[in-house]
């Protein structure tokens, strides 16, 4: 097997492993659209990174976290529903990213690669970012697991039990921002959320515990990555979308399996 294929599989597999538990939380907390909004703002972060001469991943983290905080502040006002606010921020920041990129005339950026990913051109540096960042994110998630579940079940109860609810929510947003930063290269900012929510949604029917759902979501995600990359190679299809199509197919197959309860 060619080296670039192995790197693609390692990169995609690493992302899918991380996306299983984190994506389960996105599903449980009904934050799919929130994840989409954050990832759409990533292009602005890339531009910012180029402008400031820092790694685009740092730019993405900074923009994602700022956006998450802005959203929390806006929601306090309560004049507009959350989905409206998300829609404004999502499309506003994506368009701002595109406009800002156009202003940087000297910069040659492969826009399609950022929007839809370029899984077959993964570098060793990307792999290091994925496994380094992924290890940090998984460790953080494992440490916060019980308390994040408690906050997900009921914020008031968690607060009365003395849990730092706001800090936990912020930590969760940071984890999502981190995943977006490292997964951007693989599936692209327009498709990152699908890798978070589709495997988790497919796993729901078969799970009896939160951990079971998270683990199964990781396995299904890895299967989708393998199937997507192989399909992409065989038929010369775009990599990121192929992975997402494979995940969606797994979801459909899973919902057809009869369950004995």
């Amino acid at each position: 097997m060619d080296e670039f294929v192995i790197r693609a599989l390692l990169a995609g597999g690493g992302i899918a492993l991380l996306a299983g538990p984190l994506g389960s939380f996105v599903v449980w907390r009904r934050m799919a659209y929130f994840g989409d909004t954050l990832s759409h703002s990533a292009l602005l972060g890339v531009t910012l990174g180029f402008l400031l001469g820092v790694n685009p991943m740092i730019g993405v983290m900074v923009v994602c976290v700022s956006l998450a905080l802005a959203l929390v502040a806006l929601q306090r006002r309560r004049h507009l529903a959350a989905d409206t606010l998300l829609g404004i921020l999502s499309h506003g920041s994506l368009s701002l990213g595109l406009v800002a990129l156009a202003f940087l005339e000297t910069l040659r950026v492969d826009l399609m690669a950022y929007l839809f990913g370029d899984i077959l051109s993964v570098t060793d540096g990307d792999l290091m970012a994925i496994y380094g960042g992924g290890a940090v994110a998984l460790t953080g998630l494992a440490l916060l697991w019980r308390r994040l579940l408690a906050v997900t079940v009921d914020e008031d109860l968690a607060r009365v039990e003395g849990m730092p609810v706001d800090a936990l929510r912020l930590a969760f947003m940071l984890l999502i921002a981190l995943v977006i930063a490292i997964a951007m290269k693989i599936v692209g900012i327009l498709l990152i959320t699908s890798l978070l929510i589709i495997p988790a949604a497919a796993a729901r029917r078969f799970a009896r515990t939160p951990e079971g759902m998270a683990a199964l979501a990781s396995v299904l995600g890895i299967l989708a990555v393998i199937a997507g990359i192989l399909a992409s190679l065989n038929w010369d299809l775009p990599g990121g979308p192929s992975v997402v199509v494979a995940a969606a197919a797994l979801f459909l197959l899973g919902s057809l399996v009869p369950l004995r309860r």
Partner: protein
């Protein structure tokens, strides 16, 4: 011995209430929901908050729990007070696979034995492996009681537990809570719409309508003019209804008398 504006009751302070408020005021927008409210819950005491809809009962409970910030005045608690909170209702999203056993273990590190004991004490041992989304409102109340008990509470706080539970279920739940209070000696602060379901198991009633209208023993409050003004004609029915707790309900709901049987039931 109803006290129109109680509190300032300094003897209570020396006896050491579990939690108390000092001129607690809460405003939402321009509306004053709680107006200089002073209440205290003593160890081992069952205090019931009653009042019409919109009287601020839930807001008062949330302020005592630290979930709503006072606009004025203070909420005070004994240092290191352990509070067990039973919310009105709790629904867990269908997307989250969660058994009752697992739900109980989310809030603090607990052993399997502790979880089993709490389920037993709340009378819902058989539900341990059920998914939390599949149990009834009344069963969820018991599970929430078990959850609160796992924290070894000094103070149990219940917000209108009767809404999700049928009449038979609520009497059963209150009996459980009375037993828990007896056994553990914890204080109880509960919110109720309905004085007579809690009357026999309450030490003190606080009648709330943004301010404290009156407070005292249940039978005194039910005769208090402010109480009548609040509850109108309905209150008169309650005043003559003194609920001697003279029977229990068997599992099938039949009344089981624990005295001679010459009582009459309205």
């Amino acid at each position: 011995m109803s006290i129109p504006h109680p509190n300032r009751d300094t003897s209570a302070l020396f006896a050491g209430p579990l939690a108390w408020t000092e001129d607690l005021t809460v405003r939402f927008g321009g509306r004053t929901v709680l107006d200089r409210v002073n209440i205290a819950v003593q160890p081992g005491e069952v205090v019931t908050l009653i009042g019409p809809n919109g009287a601020g009962k839930t807001t008062l409970v949330r302020a005592v729990l630290g979930l709503t910030a006072p606009s004025g005045g203070r909420v005070l608690r004994r240092p290191n007070l352990r509070v067990g909170y039973m919310p009105q209702r709790l629904s867990v999203d269908q997307t989250l696979p969660l058994t009752v056993r697992r739900f109980l273990a989310l809030w603090r590190p607990v052993t399997a034995d502790q979880v089993a004991a709490a389920l037993e004490e709340a009378g819902v041992k058989r539900l341990a492996d059920s998914a939390v989304q599949t149990i009834s409102g009344g069963e969820m109340q018991r599970v929430l009681l078990a959850r609160a008990l796992l924290g070894e509470p000094d103070l149990l706080v219940l917000d209108e537990p009767d809404q999700a539970v049928d009449v038979h279920g609520q009497a059963e739940l209150f009996n459980r809570i009375a037993q828990v209070r007896q056994r553990r000696g914890c204080g109880v602060l509960l919110v109720s719409h309905d004085l007579h379901t809690v009357m026999a198991r309450t030490d003190r009633v606080i009648c709330l309508n943004a301010h404290v209208c009156c407070s005292g023993r249940p039978e005194d409050v039910s005769r208090h003019p402010e109480y009548h003004a609040l509850f109108g004609g309905h209150a008169r029915d309650l005043a003559v209804y003194v609920h001697h707790h003279d029977h229990a309900h068997a599992e099938d709901g039949k009344v089981v008398h624990d005295h001679d049987g010459d009582c009459c039931h309205g």
